[in-house]
């Protein structure tokens, strides 16, 4: 049996940036796209409901200062809102990340592929994505702005993680 591999990059049929239009037609188009993606096999696409549920769970768990016992800050509400927006913008071909909160209160996503094959981002409150990754002995880190779409650098790193 041959398994089909859907590329992560945003120029594939499973990554349709939505929510840009404000007209009635744009709204209907969003609904159609969402329905189409829901109909796809869950093994192929990211289960966004589960992801959003995870984000809500960490919000509950980390909503007070010192939630970890080591003086971590409570989850930053703006970061939480941005994390939801980020999760909704993620290409549906990307595997489910693991969610946690950093000691500064920012929501963090982590994708793990194996020892020394890991990529993580933290969502800041001011349209800022802080990222870092290990790809074997290669390492990356940096900061990107997050406006309408997920920055290309982030998608490229996820592509590197899952397709090499």
């Amino acid at each position: 049996m041959t398994a089909a591999c859907i590329p992560i990059s945003y120029n594939n049929p499973f990554f349709l940036p939505t929510g840009r239009g404000v007209s009635e037609t744009a709204g209907k188009l969003d609904e159609i796209v969402e329905k189409m993606l829901r109909d796809c096999s869950p093994s192929v696409i990211l289960d966004k409901d589960t992801l959003l549920q995870e984000i809500n769970e960490v919000f509950e768990e980390c909503s007070v200062d010192n939630w970890d016992g080591y003086d971590a800050k409570a989850i930053d509400y703006d970061s939480y809102i941005e994390a939801i927006r980020f999760a909704r913008s993620l290409p549906t071909t990307i595997p489910l990340p693991e969610i946690a909160v950093d000691p500064d209160g920012e929501v963090s996503f982590e994708w793990y592929q194996g020892p020394r094959r890991v990529f993580t981002i933290s969502i800041g409150s001011r349209n800022k994505i802080i990222y870092a990754g290990l790809f074997g002995f290669n390492k990356v880190n940096g900061t990107e702005c997050f406006y309408d779409e997920i920055p290309k650098t982030i998608l490229d790193n996820l592509d590197r993680l899952f397709h090499f």
Binding site: D68, G69, E98, A100, E110, V118, T120, A132, K139, N141
Partner: protein
């Protein structure tokens, strides 16, 4: 009051030094193991038997709390975790496990280990970079080199 506290502090230090020996006030050697006690279930993965980088992200004071665990039995190591970490927290926390990492792996990232010995065997990993993205990368590196020990 301050004078009294200072004197009391010196007596305490003397007591612990005599009790635990000089080995613990020596600089941390690169072959030593350090334990980071895990107080959140989101800091490790049972499925992959691994520590996540979140366990090594420093708090706002940029001091990552660890304990020196060389020459201790497993039960003594867990006792320290319960007594010195879990029981001392302002809010009740579970002690899920620990991440053991070699001091060499810490030094290789450019970080330093400040052994204050307060409480005994305690140390802080310090000298974190200003940029959060760099701190994340270092935390990933430490997690990749750490071994997960779940609480029995």
């Amino acid at each position: 009051m301050m004078k009294f506290l200072k004197r009391f502090w010196i007596i305490l230090i003397d007591y612990f030094t005599s009790k635990f020996g000089n080995a613990l006030i020596k600089a941390v050697s690169k072959d030593e193991f350090l334990a980071r006690y895990l107080t959140s279930s989101r800091w490790f993965s049972r499925e992959n038997n691994r520590v996540k980088h979140h366990a090594f992200m420093p708090p706002s004071n940029m001091k990552l709390s660890v304990f020196r665990i060389d020459n201790l039995t497993e039960s003594q190591i867990w006792k320290i975790g319960q007594k010195r970490v879990a029981n001392r927290m302002r809010t009740r926390r579970n002690l899920y496990g620990r991440a053991d990492v070699k001091a060499l792996n810490v030094f290789e990232t450019g970080l330093e280990i400040h052994h204050d010995n307060i409480p005994p065997r305690h140390a802080d990993i310090v000298n974190w970079p200003d940029e959060k993205s760099e701190r994340k990368e270092i935390a990933l590196e430490l997690a990749a080199n750490a071994s997960l020990k779940l609480r029995p």
